[in-house]
Symmetry: C2
Subunit: 408 residues, 2 copies
Amino acid sequence: MDFNSKLQKYAELAVKTGVNIQPGQTLLVRTPIECAEYVRCVVEEAYKAGAKNVHVEWSDEKCSLIKYLNAPDEAFDEFPRWISDQYLDIAKEGGAFLTIYAQDPDLLKDVDPKRIAAYQKVSGQALKEWRGYTLTNKCRWSIVSIPTVAWATKIFPDVSEQEAMDKLWDLIFKCSRVTDDPIQAWKEHNENLKEKTDFLNSKKFKTLKYKSKITDLVVEMPEGHIWESGSERDVNGIEFNPNMPTEEIFCLPHKYGVNGTLASTKPLVYGGNVINDFVLKFEKGRIVDFSAKEGEETLRHLIETDEGSHYLGEIALVPYSSPISDTNTVFYNTLYDENASCHFAIGSAYSSCIENGNDIAAEDFDKYGINDSLTHVDFMVGSSDLDIVGITHDGEEIQIFKDGNWAF
Amino acid sequence: MDFNSKLQKYAELAVKTGVNIQPGQTLLVRTPIECAEYVRCVVEEAYKAGAKNVHVEWSDEKCSLIKYLNAPDEAFDEFPRWISDQYLDIAKEGGAFLTIYAQDPDLLKDVDPKRIAAYQKVSGQALKEWRGYTLTNKCRWSIVSIPTVAWATKIFPDVSEQEAMDKLWDLIFKCSRVTDDPIQAWKEHNENLKEKTDFLNSKKFKTLKYKSKITDLVVEMPEGHIWESGSERDVNGIEFNPNMPTEEIFCLPHKYGVNGTLASTKPLVYGGNVINDFVLKFEKGRIVDFSAKEGEETLRHLIETDEGSHYLGEIALVPYSSPISDTNTVFYNTLYDENASCHFAIGSAYSSCIENGNDIAAEDFDKYGINDSLTHVDFMVGSSDLDIVGITHDGEEIQIFKDGNWAF
């Protein structure tokens, strides 16, 4: 298959299997300007699938960097109302959201972290209502990634720009199952994930114990928790795949039930900076201590976003041997790295991961052990020596992971 | 000077001489994604000049075309509220607007003109309140052009894409006075234009008579009319240049005082289509008949936008010999072609071209002979045989143009 055919198939996949556009629906595509070629395929596929209207919100990270380096402080304390209105208007009228995620991992490395933290906070506040729609599947959304020169050359620094782009395209097509019939490949993949998910749900675990050379953590699971994976259903029952690729089976930990030490195993790119080799210490769910060999200041700003960012909102299981991790590539891109590794997220929980969770009012979240925050940032903890044991309410111990891979 | 230095100077010119950014001000840049390199220079220069915040609204005409060809009819009956809110919010808080105008002149040639007309109308209605700010200089705004491949190859179809781009860049730098000191060059240019403008204003003409082989038109000028040119001042007295380049001295005709026949002399690109060789017949200001050798259907939709688009809103004098027309190039771009030729505009008038005009309520426009419309579209009528005679209220006849050029 030539490149253009793959690109078109990848666009069709995002439209049909990703956000699953329905006739008459509106789609918002959020994308860097460098991904225009792919976006044009997406727009075409969305109209072919019957979309009423496709809006594209373009961005340019070079302009963002110019702003971070040159604007006055006040610029980072405001978030334009029209952007949050755009998202909310589209969400309220039943629209879908496709995000093209393609960051330069080192973009903001020379920027004052205070500026980045201020803007993360103000944008988190401004977009909180809209994120409520995605967190509770009140709208369908999906994230895919496209190579950009800055990102590709970060992964492959020793080859030419063109070669780095080609290599990254190959990996993305491979990990995203862009085959002759990607839609069928994803159907089978979703079914495979569901089998393991059903097993986990059947056990109704009380706690999960994580153990490796660098991690020693006990995670209490809330009552009525639901493991999810692959495709999800929106509140109207329409299937969609929020992440492409996806290899994870995820749930929420009890906000106040996490204790012990948790160490990262892959770099985390947050706010245009790399955080690497970090350790978090938990007591009753709260991060009470942390350190990082690289990017500690950025990590501090992340944890101090608000009260909720001192707690975890997601627990996710990914085997050490999986299509993405088998590429032996550090992607410096959470969408890819999180699907190559067991991970957690700092910040808000998906309330769809608890029985009738989408009907629980935010003020009652605490009672159910659901964390709430302006932020939600995944970080990777999987390793080849990670063991995970689940303990049921009857005290039965079940080996879930052995040496980094599924034990059952 | 190398290309990058010129680009940076051109950006500085747009920021300082164009919109004249003041410390603490917000700037919105509206631009095609292809112009990113220039836009990044603009963003940098705007922050250097003290801007508080620079927002960029990117667009992609290839996505627009995909929409025009594939979306259902309903998509052209709606205009997103968040876009008009964006403009209005920025205008109300005193922000400035820089538009990068770089259309593919043939973009929509295969599109049903009804779709284009429907969308022009709905966007005209949605943006009417914001356009009120620019038409009355309640905010500062400027338009510049940047080469794109589609535009450059339309002008220079017989050379390679790269050569066409290079040639168009050269013309744009030349016509926009991008010299060692463009800001000083523009100061002098504005002063030169003011001399002629002052002469025209001193005469307080009652009528202007246009005569060439193909045009025979009498234009009544409203009482208290003011000719303007080059730089203008916003309502706070801050200077700006709305068009770069600019060679025109313009005013408004009396809405009901235009009689005779007016023929175009350059192609007009409207809504992604070319209209060429067209003739308009006026009675008491109203277009009562029209024909076009090319794009007549597009012309019909333009004229039928609303009642006001049956009348003229602008009269502008540009000598046949001027820096832009001396390039002997048809630009298929109104910003350039209108500044190479005497022209008029169909649609709304700039009420700043009448004494205390910005204080006149829209419902009183008719009384003063000010036209109002959802649209404002310039079209070119200058030629080497055009004579224009002005007649004062005392009956004095003054030759304004002789054989296409200034007669005084």
